[in-house]
Amino acid sequence: MRPAKVHFTEIVNDNMVAMNLCLECAEEKGIDVNKAGSYGLGDLVAGLIDDTVDSEAERISKVRCPSCGYEYSDFKKIGRLGCPDCYDAFEAQLVQVLRHVHGSTQHAGKKAAQVGERAALRERMNVLREELSEAIRTEDYERAAAIRDEIRGLEAQVEDDA
């Protein structure tokens, strides 16, 4: 695990934005990590970690992802999210980070409409195969024949795509 090692704060539209990046990503963003402590470049104000102690900050840091149990404070420590669902859980907090890093909060590229299509078909086929052996075991041959037809249909679909 690469902990977040670079902390800096930037003023964006009069708002303080705290950033916590792992070393690698900070370097990729072109932040000179050796100077991060006394950074004069651009509009970065260094050394101010967002420990502006107030109850709001306290509350925010305790927001928890329901899927993986990650807290927002974990993200600040490590510089990475715990799971894909964290993006929804920490949505409000991440908006400023995204605006800072990307200058945007809206994806505009490749769409994943077809993602996992064949994987889903195969998953469905596995379920059907189990149902098929169950139907054969209980000697429900009418049902078995129907399931077999459905499996053949799916097989043809998987092959067509391949």
Binding site: G30, L81, C83
Partner: protein, 356 residues
């Protein structure tokens, strides 16, 4: 058993690192990396071993169905030696991260090494496309094709508004990092590099030293890349970087011309001293070697050094690295022995091109 034998690949620099390609005086190689994660799993750094294994199994299953990897073997990091891992890292087929974390981690790559897939890196899937010289389109096509081939067979974490979800928010959206490895001695010597750095940053691109840790720059080699991955379509990210690189190339050429105009004798002396050292030195460390290679590259670009092809120098950048030296000798070596082997490797390459 992965059946991987590093000796199969160590004798060639890999198609994309052979030093050829457009603008190869300044641009050594082009690379596109795409990050993807599997739906329904925690990110790699947050996984226990069982979950890492499950991710690996699903990813491998999908990878083996792709056309790209029809003739490729999976190399499990845990099953190869440290030296072999290092060799793969020196060829950019795996990241430095894989040197330390090897359990349930591995890589597949095509025989030409131009398309590769790391499994369980910072993101579950790290797709890479490479090309020699200045060819971002070629690198993008390779990476994007593999992404398309994987997509039907694995459920990817995707968000309607945020795009592809990644462990680090800096990669969110397209999950794409487009980069070139460039040699910029003209801009460094004329002290223009900081101005470039500043303006690139304003234009949402970044530049950093390619070799060495932190901010240390060795041999004036830099990596130039996009820094925003969200909010811009992939083809536009590629186009933006391409336009940026075209400008950097012009800028570098002009700096070199100006330098030679202002300090011809000084530069000629620097180039030929470097050439002499590389031809005759008996011991040289990586840092010195890169700096000497940098000076000779400058000399080749200026038409001073005529008997060394730029391609030979580009290949040396790969061959002089520690794991390559040791694998090519077939023995492990300490730092002193490596320095001697490095000097010999360079002498051989230069005298070969000198005769040829």
């Amino acid at each position: 058993m992965s059946g991987f034998d590093a000796n199969d690949i160590v004798g060639t620099p890999g198609a994309w690192l052979d030093g050829s390609g457009d603008e190869n005086e300044i641009v050594l190689s082009s690379r596109v990396r795409i990050a993807r994660n599997l739906h329904g799993h925690r990110f790699t750094h947050n996984c226990d071993n069982a979950e890492l294994d499950a991710i690996l199994r699903k990813s491998l299953d999908a990878a083996r169905r792709t056309r790209a990897f029809a003739r490729s073997r999976y190399i499990a990091m845990g099953e190869i030696s440290t030296l072999d891992r290092q060799l793969l890292a020196e060829r950019h087929l795996v990241s430095r991260d894989f040197l330390h974390n090897s359990a349930s981690r591995g890589v597949l790559f095509t025989p030409d090494e131009a398309t590769s897939l790391m499994i369980n890196e910072e993101d579950h899937l790290r797709i890479q496309g490479f090309a020699a010289g200045f060819d971002l389109g070629g690198a993008f096509r390779r990476a994007n094709d593999l992404d398309d081939q994987l997509a039907p067979d694995v459920e990817i974490a995707y968000h309607a508004r945020l795009g592809y979800l990644t462990a680090c928010p800096t990669n969110l959206g397209t999950g794409m990092r487009v980069s070139v490895l460039v040699h910029l001695p003209g801009l460094v010597h004329s002290k223009e590099i900081h101005k470039l750095l500043e303006s690139l940053r304003k234009l949402n691109h970044s530049i950093r030293g390619f070799f060495g840790e932190g901010s240390e720059v060795m041999g004036n080699f830099f990596q130039l890349s996009n820094s925003a991955a969200l909010g811009t379509p992939e083809d536009v990210i590629v186009k933006n970087l391409r336009e940026m690189v075209v400008k950097v190339i012009q800028y570098e050429r002009r700096s070199r011309e100006l330098l030679f105009h202002k300090a011809q004798r000084l530069l000629e002396d620097k180039v030929w001293r470097a050439y002499g050292l590389l031809r005759y030195a008996r011991s040289v460390n990586t840092k010195e070697a890169l700096s000497l290679i940098s000076a000779v590259r400058l000399g080749v670009g200026a038409g001073l050094v005529r008997d060394v092809p730029i391609q030979t120098l580009n290949q040396l950048v790969v061959y002089i690295q520690p794991a390559h030296l040791q694998k090519r000798r077939g023995t492990t070596m300490d730092a002193q022995e490596r320095d001697a082997a490095r000097a010999e490797c360079i002498r051989e390459a230069l005298s070969r091109s000198n005769r040829g």
